[in-house]
């Protein structure tokens, strides 16, 4: 009985979530898929990205999706699909998603608001806050807040950084030219970040990642 209860708890919770937002559910039961297919796909995303979209530290850090900007998620899924952002697993995932499904998934994750999973070092947070808010003028590093917003919530195609996994942000800040912008397309926004961050030291990267990872 206890086992049955636990097995039912997860689908029940997802169902409750969907039912609690009827207008959203109608919107998402949209073209090309049923609400049941959407639930199955959301469960699939959350297998790796956390049951509340909070992210998960597996062998690789799986980024937080909760509260992420829909436009950014759509752009990244397209970049995986077109192999501009190299990640064989996510390319595979993206190939099985229709544009309307992507829109529904992105809208769902935008509305999640779970606490950061933590695990970042505490000491460099103060330095990270300074760099985030003021930049490093002597190293030609602009303030992150100028684009990502004072609370790191992002906007449009600019991603939310608040609550992001520490190891994920660290990896991303050192990986622009290796992981992103791999295709011939000129409109890959990661080019901006490669130029913006290339003067950062490892310690400064860790400080920024620790700070944004602590934000709710």
């Amino acid at each position: 009985m206890k086992v049955i209860g636990l097995r039912l708890a997860l689908p029940a919770a997802v169902l409750a979530l969907v039912l609690s937002a009827p207008s959203r559910a109608d919107e998402m039961g949209g073209p090309g898929f049923s609400s049941q297919e959407l639930r199955a796909k959301l469960d699939y995303c959350k297998t790796c990205h956390g049951l509340s979209g909070q992210g998960y530290r597996g062998y690789f850090p799986m980024p937080r999706l909760a509260g992420q900007q829909p436009k950014y998620l759509e752009n990244q899924l397209r970049a995986f699909y077109e192999r501009r952002r190299s990640n064989p697993v996510m390319a595979n995932v993206a190939h099985a998603l229709s544009p309307s499904m992507v829109a529904a998934l992105a809208a769902h994750f935008k509305d999640l608001n779970t606490n950061p999973i933590g695990g970042a070092p505490k000491e460099p947070v103060a330095l990270g806050k300074t760099i985030y808010e003021l930049g490093l003028p002597e190293a030609n590093i602009p303030a992150c807040s100028a684009c990502h917003g004072p609370e790191a919530k992002g906007q449009g195609e600019i991603p939310r950084l608040a609550g992001q996994l520490f190891p994920y942000t660290v990896k991303t800040l050192g990986n622009w030219s290796k992981e992103r912008g791999q295709g011939p397309a000129k409109d890959d926004t990661s080019f901006i970040m490669a130029a913006t961050t290339h003067n950062l030291t490892q310690a400064q990267v860790a400080a920024i990642a620790a700070y944004v990872g602590s934000l709710r």
Binding site: R7, D43, C48, G58, Y59, N92
Partner: protein, 203 residues
Amino acid sequence: MKRIKSKTAIVAIVFSLAGPLSAGESLPIRNCTWCHGSSAQGFSTAPRLAGQREKYIENQLLSFSAHIRDNPLSQQYMWGATANLSPEAMRDFAAYFSSLPPKAANDGDPQLAAQGRAIYELGIAEANVAACLVCHGPNAEGIREIPRLGGLSHAYLKRRLEQWGQGFHAAAEPMPQITRALSPNEIDALASYLSFVAYESLE
């Protein structure tokens, strides 16, 4: 250098086990190796412990003693085996067994290995099957509290993957959810592939 040191330590431990246990033996590993095999490579239904991740072993021992891992064989053997283990002893066992080099079981169906590898590395996106690699590592080596799967026996891997779908060990999220998306044939293929993943190719 570090490797040589740990190998020396293992050799030292192995030699110290060659003789009868002395009164001063602080870690009664024979209570474990009776079922898990004299070199902890697994035996019959008991899985390999050699080379398993330290934090994983410790967590599982805690799960047995708290009756969270409630698979039939766990209830039958491990609940009793851990009933009187102190947290310190659990840590010591975990440190010891994780330091032993594992050997691959190689007992799966070779015909299914390629299919299993594809599922392990990429998942099946159309069927919402997650890629195992993202958590368990490119060589199924595991990390921290996430177990090494490479080289475990086909029967053990198959049983664990089946039993999540039957409702056992339900607290081990996200594994129950992941395995529910797998067909019996896909479980067989994954267990087959993983049984052939060798330690030598790792790290």
